[in-house]
C-alpha cells in the first residue's frame, strides 16, 4: 500500500472552536496533513497569492463576515489558477438554495457539520482520505 | 267516403249510360242518403258498394272493370282540381312511390278524416315498382285505374300485374313495370 502523501489543507473559518475541532480531528488521524488557517475570505485570498505554496484542499465555511462563502467561491472560480483547487463546503446550513448555488458555482463537496463530534470526526477523516488519493492539478 | 267520389261516379254513369241508368241504380240500391250526394258531403262506403253492384248488374260489366274505368275518369278530376300537385313530379314511378309518404300526407291535410288505403313499397327501380296494397275496401282496381292514368299523364305506359294475396282483395301486390 502506497503511503499517503503529505496534504496541505486550507481552512477558512472565523469560529475559533471550529478551527480547534478540525485541528484536533487532524491530529487524531494517521495522516500527514498540514493545516493552514484563514479567519475570513480576504485573509485566505492573501494566502493564496503565493502560487508556490497552494493548498491541496480548501475547507470553506459559508457564513463568514465581509466576503461570504459563495462570493469567495466565485472569486476562486474566476481565477485561472485557483479555480483548480478542490473546495469543500463545511457548514451547518442545509439550505437547499445554498447547496444548489454552491454546486452551480463549482464545489468539490458539501459537508454538513453534524452535532456529535464523533460523527464530525468520521466525516472529516473520510473526506481527507478521499482527497489524498485524488490526482490534483498543479499549475 | 267523400261525396265527390259519389257525384263523379254518377256524372260518369250519366255521361256513359244516360240519366235513366243513374235513376235505375239509385232506385235499385238501398241508400241511406236516398241517392242525394254533394261533393262536399261524406257518405257511407256501403252506399258506394251498393251503387257499384247495381251498376254491374244493370250493365253486365264486372265491378273491377267499372272501378278501373271510374278511376281513369277520377284522375282527370285530380288533374283539373290539383294541377300544382301533379306538377311536383316528373316521373310516374316516382309519383307512385310517394303515395304513402307524400300524397296521402297531403290528402290528410285537406281531408283529415279521409280513410285511405296503404301502399307499402316492396321493391323499386327506375323502371319498376312493387307495392303492397292494403285496404278493407278492396278497391284495388280503382288504384290500378289511377296508376294507368298516372303513366298516361307523363306520356308513358306500364304493365301492371296484380297478385291478390287475399281472396277478398283486401291485400293485393302491384307489380308495375314501365314500358319502354
Amino acid at each position: 500500500m502506497t503511503r499517503v502523501k503529505t496534504m496541505k489543507v486550507l481552512l477558512i473559518e472565523d469560529d475559533l472552536i471550529e478551527v480547534m475541532k478540525l485541528k484536533r480531528s487532524i491530529s487524531k488521524l494517521d495522516m500527514d496533513v498540514t493545516l493552514v488557517e484563514a479567519k475570513n475570505g480576504e485573509e485566505a485570498l492573501d494566502l493564496l497569492k503565493d502560487s508556490q505554496s497552494l493548498p491541496d484542499l480548501i475547507f470553506l465555511d459559508l457564513n463568514m463576515p465581509k466576503i461570504n462563502g459563495i462570493e469567495f467561491l466565485k472569486i476562486l472560480k474566476s481565477d485561472d489558477v485557483l479555480r483548480y483547487l478542490p473546495t469543500v463546503i463545511l457548514t451547518t446550513s442545509s439550505n437547499r438554495k445554498d447547496v444548489l448555488e454552491c454546486y452551480k458555482v463549482g464545489v468539490a463537496g458539501y459537508i454538513l457539520k453534524p452535532l456529535k463530534y464523533d460523527e464530525y470526526l468520521d466525516k472529516i477523516q473520510k473526506t481527507l482520505l478521499y482527497w489524498s488519493v485524488n490526482e490534483l492539478i498543479k499549475i | 267516403m267523400k261525396g265527390i267520389v259519389f257525384t263523379e261516379l254518377l256524372d260518369l254513369v250519366e255521361e256513359k249510360f244516360g240519366l235513366g241508368m243513374v235513376d235505375t241504380i239509385i232506385e235499385n240500391s238501398e241508400l241511406e242518403s236516398g241517392g242525394v250526394y254533394t261533393a262536399v258531403g261524406t257518405y257511407s262506403f256501403a252506399e258506394m258498394l251498393s251503387l257499384l253492384k247495381s251498376l254491374s248488374a244493370a250493365t253486365g260489366i264486372s265491378i273491377d272493370d267499372l272501378l278501373e274505368v271510374y278511376a281513369e275518369h277520377f284522375f282527370s278530376v285530380v288533374e283539373v282540381s290539383y294541377p300544382g300537385f301533379l306538377a311536383q313530379y316528373n316521373d310516374p314511378i316516382e309519383m307512385l312511390a310517394s303515395i304513402e309518404n307524400h300524397i296521402h300526407v297531403e290528402v290528410r291535410k285537406i281531408y283529415p278524416d279521409a280513410e285511405l288505403p296503404t301502399f307499402d313499397i316492396e321493391e323499386k327501380t327506375d323502371k319498376s315498382l312493387t307495392m303492397l296494397y292494403t285496404s278493407s275496401r278492396a278497391m284495388y282496381s280503382f288504384g290500378r285505374g289511377l296508376m294507368n292514368k298516372t303513366f298516361e299523364h307523363f306520356n308513358s305506359s306500364a304493365t301492371i300485374i296484380m297478385e291478390k294475396l287475399k281472396e277478398d282483395g283486401t291485400e293485393v301486390r302491384f307489380i308495375i313495370t314501365k314500358n319502354d
Binding site: 469560529d15 472552536i17 475541532k21 457564513n63 451547518t92 464523533d118 | 240519366l19 239509385i26 242525394v36 254533394t38
Partner: protein
C-alpha cells in the same frame, strides 16, 4: 217525353235540389266553423301580441336596469341607444348630442378600436375588449367591452350591442394586488432566508459546546465520578434536543404552498419508504388497509406528513399489541385519509392545542412539539383539513383531507 222519363227527371231534380240544400247546409256549417276558428285565431293573436309586448317591456327593463352600461350602436359606431348606466359612465346623453364610440376612445387607441370593430363585424362578437375612453368630463376610464352584432330576420347585420364595464378601479386594485403579492413573495423569501441564517447561527454554538464537552471528557479520562459523567451525558441529550428543535422550527417555516410542486406522487411508494425509515418495534403492527392513491404534490412534504403522524402513533403506543392502520376515502375533489392507532389517546381538551407549535403534551426526549404543527401546515398547503377522534386509553384516529390536484 214518356211518363217514365218525366218521373226519372223529376226524381233527378228532386235529388239535385236535396243535394243543393245538403251542400248549402254543409257549407253553412263550414262557414260557422270558419267563423269560430277566426275568432279563436284573433284571440290567440291578441295573446301573442301581449306576450311580445311583455317580452319587449322585459327587455326594456333589462336594458334600463342592467348595472353595466349597455349601448346599441349602428355599424359605424354611432350610439343609437344607451341605458342610464351608460349615461352615468360616459356623461353623454344621445338625446342632446349624438356620439360615436370611436370618437370617445382615447386617442392612443383609435386604431385599436377600429380593428376591434372589424373583428366584431367579421366574427359577430368581441369578448373582453379593453379600451380607454374619455368621458364628457374629460376623465379617462378603462372599460371592458363585450359586444355582438344584431342581425335582422334575413341574417343581415344591422347594428351592434355592447355591455361596457368600467374596470378602472378594478384594474387599479388588480395592480395593487400584484404588487402586494410580489412584496409578500419577497418577504416570504426573506423570512425563509432569515430562518436558515438563524438556524445556522443557533446550531453552530451547539456544535462547539458538544465538541468542548467531548474534549473535556477525553482529556480527563478516568478522573470524573459517575455523577459527573451522568451530567455530561445530560448535556449531550439537551444539546441533541436543542438541535432537533432548531431543525424542526426551520422545517416548519419552510412549509409554504410554494413548495408544492406538481409531480404525481404514488403514496404507496411513500408508505413503503416510511416503513423502511421508521423504527418499528416488534409489538406494533403498521398496516395500510388498501392500495393508496396517487396525488399531485411535493413528495418529501407528503412523506413528512405521513411520517410525522405514523411516528407519533408509534411513540405513543402503550399496548402489548400496537395497531396502526392507514386508510383513505375518495371524496371527489379531495382524498380523506385516516391514521388510526390503539395508543394512549388524547384528552378532548387537547385536541386543538396539539396542532399549535411547541405544544407537546409529553416530556419526551424525541418530542419537540413541532411535528403536528408541521403536519397541519402541510395539510393546509393542500387546501385540506385535519382533525381527530380519540378516547383516552383506547386510541386516536387522525383524519385529514388533501386536494387531489391544486
Amino acid at each position: 217525353m214518356t211518363k217514365l222519363s218525366v218521373e226519372i227527371l223529376e226524381r233527378a231534380l228532386k235529388r239535385e235540389r236535396a243535394a243543393r240544400k245538403q251542400a248549402e247546409r254543409i257549407l253553412e256549417q263550414k262557414a260557422r266553423e270558419l267563423y269560430t276558428l277566426t275568432q279563436e285565431l284573433q284571440f290567440s293573436n291578441k295573446e301573442l301580441e301581449h306576450m311580445v309586448w311583455e317580452k319587449t317591456s322585459e327587455l326594456k327593463g333589462v336594458f334600463e336596469n342592467i348595472i353595466d352600461a349597455f349601448v346599441v350602436m349602428d355599424l359605424s359606431g354611432k350610439v343609437l341607444k344607451m341605458n342610464d348606466a351608460a349615461i352615468d359612465l360616459l356623461g353623454y346623453t344621445i338625446a342632446n348630442e349624438p356620439i360615436n364610440l370611436i370618437d370617445i376612445v382615447h386617442p392612443d387607441e383609435k386604431q385599436g378600436i377600429i380593428d376591434a370593430f372589424k373583428l366584431l363585424y367579421v366574427n359577430g362578437s368581441v369578448a373582453n375588449y379593453q379600451v380607454k375612453v374619455i368621458t364628457k368630463e374629460g376623465k379617462t376610464r378603462l372599460v371592458d367591452i363585450n359586444a355582438s352584432i344584431i342581425y335582422d330576420e334575413k341574417d343581415k347585420p344591422v347594428a351592434a350591442q355592447g355591455i361596457v364595464r368600467d374596470i378602472t378601479e378594478f384594474k387599479c386594485l388588480e395592480n395593487q394586488k400584484e404588487i402586494l403579492l410580489k412584496k409578500l413573495e419577497k418577504s416570504n423569501d426573506e423570512l425563509q432566508e432569515y430562518a436558515h441564517v438563524v438556524s445556522h447561527d443557533l446550531k453552530s454554538p451547539l456544535r462547539s459546546i458538544y465538541a468542548l464537552v467531548d474534549w473535556i471528557k477525553e482529556d480527563n479520562e478516568g478522573q470524573f465520578n459517575e455523577e459527573t459523567l451522568h451530567n455530561f451525558s445530560l448535556i449531550d441529550i439537551t444539546l441533541e434536543k436543542m438541535e432537533q428543535l432548531i431543525s424542526d422550527v426551520l422545517d416548519y417555516s419552510s412549509v409554504t404552498s410554494e413548495n408544492v410542486s406538481a409531480a404525481e406522487v404514488d403514496l404507496n411508494i411513500v408508505f413503503k419508504d416510511i416503513y423502511q425509515i421508521l423504527y418499528l418495534p416488534d409489538h406494533i403492527k403498521l398496516s395500510c388497509i388498501k392500495n393508496l392513491p396517487s396525488i399531485k404534490g411535493n413528495r418529501s412534504r407528503l412523506q413528512q406528513l405521513f411520517q410525522n403522524l405514523i411516528s407519533n402513533a408509534i411513540r405513543y403506543c402503550d399496548k402489548e399489541e400496537g395497531l396502526i392502520d392507514l386508510d383513505y376515502k375518495d371524496q371527489g375533489e379531495f382524498y380523506q385519509f385516516s391514521i388510526q392507532d390503539n395508543g394512549i389517546g388524547i384528552a378532548p381538551e387537547h385536541h386543538e392545542k396539539i396542532f399549535k407549535i411547541f405544544q407537546s403534551l409529553h416530556q419526551n426526549k424525541e418530542s419537540t412539539g413541532v411535528g403536528l404543527s408541521i403536519v397541519k401546515k402541510i395539510v393546509e398547503s393542500y387546501q385540506g383539513e385535519i382533525w381527530l377522534e380519540s378516547a383516552l386509553g383506547e386510541g386516536t384516529t387522525f383524519y385529514f383531507t388533501l386536494k387531489k390536484e391544486l
